[in-house]
């Protein structure tokens, strides 16, 4: 029989302290092992909700279940399909990044991307006409997340665009993401000139069908395995995807080069994919989406399952509060700028790509990617510290995604709303920056956090759900 109180009276105490430093000192004076928390008051006004949620008898097990499901999820690339077919998206319907949004509140790049998508679908002949139609409310748009899909930056998806289809066989979930257009003037950054629309047509007519053949001929591709490897090769899976892109191309090449099609089309598809350092991002994102989807909808769980931005609002969703969004104004990232662009050119934070951080990579795996720390405005110790700080707000360490320089410690995974509110530490997101004016494209890359108010709002909703 084990002794009561987990053997408290039979072992020399090792004491964790929070509060008055004098008591920790008094213990050290007695040569007792002490682990002292650098405790700070929680976010303003959260103490009552915190006490209620922390006392929710479902919480501990619900969170354990959530992260167990999150880290046990698989992500396999199984097909490439048009959005209309995959998502049942009708002509005249569009998906976008982030929480729900109306046209009048949409930022420059979001409006630009929607205009581009309308032009691409042939619903309007000019940008002005597209804009009029969009403003008049004739089109439906809703978040990608509402269809279990994700889209980088503006994340605009229209029925004719092709999507990667990923499966989590363990939890029987499917997720989708659009094909990456490369860098520069691209729809996802709100550009919609002829070059952009022409490329989108080529992607629909040539690239999508070739990738479909390639995926179907090589069978399925294990995306979680690529993520695990890329973290050990200097990528963090959000702002650096070089190793992941090469590994993905390596998997696809045998299928691509043997696909039915003109050799010039195949050559262009290979060149296009190989030239894109973020080729893999559009696979890493739906893989993270599958992980967080598996953790979603567990009553009592305080684990964040969505972080997404639409260029105006930043929204989070939490496992235990279902499909309710908790939003605040999106912040503008801080970082480095391309060419002559400066902070005044940057749009507020945009894109579903923060799903990578929600799933335990991206900014949370910053320590794995020392090569880009300058690009996102820091030095190497900063990167190490950033990842380590995230352990303070997460529930688990990922069993498969590991950071070599932290002695292969698992990445911090499963953001806990209560820990964010208690510590005031906000999730660290690595991101690209879109130009504020529609059509500008990418202006830089940097670091950003959610607006703090998302978390007390989510906490209040969790508190209301406690019996």
């Amino acid at each position: 029989m084990t002794s009561p109180l987990r053997g408290l009276l039979g072992t020399d105490p090792v004491v964790a302290t929070a509060g008055v430093g004098l008591f920790a000192d008094a213990l050290r004076d007695q040569a007792v092992a002490v682990s002292e928390a650098d405790w700070q008051p929680p976010m303003e006004g959260t103490e009552t909700d915190l006490a209620r949620v922390m006392g929710d008898p479902r919480r501990v097990e619900a969170n354990a279940t959530a992260v167990a499901r999150m880290t046990a999820s698989t992500a396999t690339l199984v097909d490439v399909v048009p959005a209309g077919e995959a998502l049942g998206l009708e002509k005249g319907s569009f998906l976008h990044a982030g929480p729900p949004l109306t046209w009048d509140r949409a930022s420059g790049p979001m409006q630009g991307a929607l205009i581009g998508a309308v032009l691409f679908e042939g619903l309007a002949d000019t940008a002005e006409e597209a804009e009029r139609q969009l403003a008049s409310g004739v089109y439906e748009f809703e978040p990608c997340h509402h269809r279990d899909a994700v889209g980088p930056m503006a994340g605009v998806v229209s029925p004719s665009m092709w999507m990667y289809e990923l499966r989590d066989e363990v939890h029987d979930n499917t997720s989708w993401c659009s094909l990456n257009e490369g860098l520069g003037k691209v729809l996802r950054y709100g550009a919609y000139n002829e070059e952009v629309i022409t490329r989108l047509h080529w992607m629909t007519d040539v690239l999508g069908p070739l990738l479909r053949q390639a995926v179907r001929s090589v069978g399925s591709i294990d995306i979680t395995a690529i993520i695990a490897q890329m973290l050990q090769m200097g990528d963090e899976g959000h702002n650096r995807n070089r190793a992941g892109s090469l590994m993905l191309l390596r998997e696809l090449l045998p299928g691509l080069v043997t696909a039915e099609g003109s050799s010039s089309d195949i050559a262009e598809a290979v060149r296009f994919s190989g030239a894109n350092e973020h080729f893999f991002l559009n696979l890493g994102m739906p893989a993270a989406k599958l992980a967080t989807l598996a953790a979603h909808g567990i009553p009592g769980s305080t684990i964040v399952t969505t972080m997404a931005r639409n260029g105006t609002d930043f929204g989070i969703r939490v496992s235990g509060t279902g499909d309710e969004w908790f939003t605040g104004p999106a912040l503008t990232p801080e970082g480095l700028f391309l060419g002559d662009f400066g902070p005044e050119d940057a749009n507020p934070d945009i894109g579903d790509s923060a799903i990578t951080e929600t799933g335990g990579i991206g900014g949370f795996a910053m320590a794995a990617a020392p090569a880009i720390v300058k690009f996102v405005g820091g030095d190497v110790p900063f990167a190490l510290e950033a990842t380590q700080r995230m352990y303070e707000i997460t529930e688990a360490e990922h069993p498969v995604y590991q950071v070599p320089i932290l002695e292969f410690r698992g990445t911090p995974t499963g953001i806990d709303v209560t820990k964010v509110a208690r510590t005031g530490i906000l999730p660290q997101i690595n991101t690209g920056m879109a130009g504020a004016v529609a059509g500008t494209g990418q202006v830089g890359a940097g670091l950003v956090t959610p607006p703090a108010e998302c978390f007390p709002a989510a906490l209040a909703s969790l508190a209301r759900a406690v019996d």
Binding site: S3, P4, L5, R6, L8, L9, G10, T11, D12, P13, V14, V15, A16, T17, A18, G19, V20, G21, L22, F23, A24, A26, L27, D29, Q30, V32, A33, V34, S35, E36, A37, D38, W39, Q40, P41, P42, E44, E47, L50, A51, M54, G55, P57, R59, V60, V380, P381, L384, E385, Q388, R389, Y391, E392, I405, L406, T418, K419, R422, T423, I425
Partner: protein, 505 residues
């Protein structure tokens, strides 16, 4: 008027430090040459009041999570030097709580759960402000830790929920408002250095447990563990939840052969249930339970010593020289306590000897209740450690300034006939409390004597010679200031009553 001097008041948003650390900062900064007044504190309601009282204008909108730096000096140079000293002291606080910088050094844990996981801790000691304590305690319970919960201002509903959650996880919540615990010789919070032995304590009272521990030590009897349970554990709402767990754990502990349960006045039904629970465990339990008509703690310890086969020693006493003849004597007993149980016991003991009632901020009879800051003409006992007195500031065993001010005020009051004070030594308490208290006693007596009044001062001194402050050394300093000193708090209270006009024995 000092307010003509250069003054600076700065507000620093969101820069939190605990009240004890800030007190140390304030003291260090006040020692800067040319600084005449310094207060570095969180802008709690109480601290804003204190700052206003010191003549500082605190900016509107200051909230409890904001740090106020308020300095007054005899020159602008002194203010600058003072501000620099503030920076140095605050930086030292930050350095003390960090693991250090450099490549790969982890940032410090920020929650008790994180601190526990970093060190495989077995026990948590939580002393954050009360409104945040529930959250940290749930976190510790979820991490599988028993909790010593020093924080007060925790609601009884939360206490019950926490204790139920703890029992479900097979851990115990010692508290809330638990000042004292001893686990395998490790003192948590306020605890005395006593000899190791076989008597286990279960204490719904912090200073009560310290008194019992020190009496046992003086009688040559040692302690195995002291499990605090919080002052309300034996009230009907809480129903002895932690006491049961503590008794079961001590029953299982091979080192413990008998147990003393120490409590403030409990609920009779709960006490009866606990007695029968202890019988079922087959434990040799002795009871040191405060209350009218019950033996005081000293008598309870004496009775326990008898059944443990130990002899009752002569408890340490020093009786001061009487005040000179011809002085007038006030009629009121003024008991100014830092220890809640000691205050309670003194009140109960004195009430049996006095014909007039005793008013108190911890009175059991609502009709006799007065606020802790209220002054009365008759008998009065104040517990400076009561929740109402500690909101936004440290416990008086750490920060005795409120009581010090009150000692001076009572000394100047013609109705004050005797001062009864407690001083508790041990880990966690002020490292050299005697000098400051002796000065206050000496000043009080001078004040009284100068206005033609006698003012006997009686100190209930709880401690052992092995305490960092030392019982004998402390007693000597206090005796030098003209105070009578008693290890037995009950004896101190009786002696104090005997000093009053008409009660002299």
């Amino acid at each position: 008027m000092t307010t003509d001097q250069p003054t600076v008041v700065e507000l620093r948003r969101g820069a939190y430090h605990d009240s004890v650390s800030l007190m140390q900062v304030s003291r260090a900064v006040a020692g800067t040459e040319g600084i005449t007044s310094a207060q570095v504190a969180m802008a709690t309601e109480l601290n804003v009041e204190v700052l206003t009282g010191m003549g500082f204008a605190v900016p509107d909108g200051a909230a409890a999570n904001d740090l106020v730096v308020a300095l007054r000096g005899d020159s602008d140079e002194a203010i600058q030097a003072g501000l620099a000293a503030v920076e140095v002291e605050l930086a030292a606080l930050r350095a003390g709580s960090r693991g250090g910088g450099g490549m790969g050094e982890a940032p410090p844990p920020r929650t008790v759960g994180s601190a526990a996981r970093a060190a495989d801790a077995t026990l948590a000691l939580i002393s954050v402000p009360g409104q945040h304590a529930v959250t940290e305690t749930y976190d510790a319970i979820a991490a599988g830790l028993s909790v010593m919960l020093f924080s007060d201002n925790v609601s009884v509903e939360d206490e019950i929920r926490l204790k139920d959650a703890a029992r479900g996880a097979d851990v115990i919540v010692m508290g809330p408002d638990c000042g004292t615990a001893l686990v395998r010789g490790v003192a948590l919070g306020f605890a005395n250095v006593v000899r190791e032995g076989s008597v286990g304590l279960v204490a719904a009272s912090g200073t009560g447990a310290q008194q019992v521990m020190c009496l046992l030590d003086a009688a040559g009897v040692g302690v195995s563990h002291c499990i605090g349970v919080g002052g309300r554990d034996l009230k009907s709402a809480v129903g002895g939840r932690s006491t049961r767990q503590a008794l079961a754990a001590l029953a299982d502990d091979p080192q413990t052969t008998s147990v003393i349960v120490v409590s403030k006045p409990p609920d009779d039904t709960v006490l009866a249930e606990i007695r029968s629970y202890a019988d079922d465990l087959g434990l040799d339990v002795h009871w040191a339970i405060l209350g009218e008509g019950r033996p005081d703690l000293t008598a309870a310890v004496e009775s326990a010593l008898g059944s443990l086969g130990a002899s009752v020693p002569t408890w340490p006493v020093h009786v001061a020289e009487p005040d000179p003849e011809g002085l007038t004597r006030g009629a009121g007993l003024r008991g100014l306590f830092c220890g809640g149980t000691l205050a309670d016991e003194a009140m109960i003991v004195a009430a049996e000897l006095l014909s007039e009632p005793i008013r108190s901020n911890i009175a059991h009879d609502a009709a006799l209740h007065v606020g802790g800051h209220e002054r009365v003409a008759g008998h009065l006992v104040v517990d400076f450690g009561d929740d109402e007195m500690t909101q936004g500031r440290a416990h008086p065993m750490i920060d005795p300034s409120l009581r010090m001010e009150r000692i001076a005020a009572e000394a100047a009051d013609a109705s004050c006939g005797v001062l009864l004070l407690d001083l508790v030594l041990g880990h966690g308490a002020h490292p050299v409390p005697a000098l400051e208290l002796a000065d206050a006693i000496r000043d009080a007596r001078v004040t009284a004597h100068e206005s033609g009044r006698a003012l006997p001062v009686v100190v209930s001194l709880t401690g052992t010679d092995d305490d960092p402050q030392g019982y004998a050394r402390t007693a000597e300093v206090l005796a030098g200031a003209g105070a009578s000193i008693f290890l037995s708090n009950a004896a101190a209270a009786r002696h104090a009553v005997a000093q009053l006009e008409g009660n002299a024995s």
